[in-house]
Symmetry: C2
DNA sequence: TATCAGTATTCATTTTAAAACATACTGAAA
DNA sequence: TTTCAGTATGTTTTAAAATGAATACTGATA
């Protein structure tokens, strides 16, 4: 008879670029919230993160991607805003596709862990 | 013609237990160093980590595993030491097996990422 | 041409985790 | 019964990261 502790396997996936971690689930959530709210400010509020932090993440993503993932609009009606580029939308779907395939595999591979 | 930025997929794997993350590559390295050096003190030095921290990780592992992964020896010749239990040795091999299977799969699945 | 909300940027403050320090405790062996 | 190196544990420093506050900038539109 065995102890009944439950263990499960967790997998984290991210895209690495020459200067280090480039795109993981955190930035993907940020992209999704920008898409949903139309601005970095509101996306940040949604996620309860500081605007400054969100802005820096967007800046970093845009500089390190082959082409910008977020288009920022300065001034004008409503002060401006931010929206995803085609590349930004693509990044979300590609990321989730890859993540899903790997997590499904991991789940299938690991049943009844014991430690 | 396309930009030549290189992207790669990174995967991190760890074992989760009811109270959160239980065993990842960091603790595995610690186990390996304990195995190699025969004490927590020397394992910590090897890894340039504080003894206190290493000791706490061992404590946590032992309490949350079904049975202890590290056997600690108090006092005596040389002040004591630490060695892996059978369960500790098993944990290392099982962890690496799982990790390898998943990383191999991830590598195979993802070629030519673009962002 | 004044307004307005969001972007852009700097600086001070808080939070956090990690490391460093200090000090008992343990027990085989000389 | 003293020595000794490693375990055990609390306290203090340090360093890094996140947050918060403050301020200037932008430009369509009323």
């Amino acid at each position: 008879m065995n102890n009944s502790k439950k263990y499960s396997l967790e997998v984290r996936v991210w895209i690495e670029e020459s200067d280090g971690p480039f795109l993981g689930i955190g930035k993907i959530w940020l992209l999704e919230n920008i898409q949903k709210t139309g601005s970095i400010t509101n996306a940040a509020k949604e996620m309860k993160m500081a605007y400054r932090q969100a802005w820096q993440l967007v800046e970093e993503m845009n500089q390190r991607a082959e082409s910008p993932l977020v288009e920022k609009l300065l001034g004008g009606k409503g002060g401006g805003g931010a929206k995803l580029t085609k590349a930004g939308e693509k990044a979300i779907t590609v990321f989730y596709e890859i993540e899903k395939r790997i997590k499904d595999f991991a789940l299938k591979e690991t049943q009844n862990l014991k430690f």
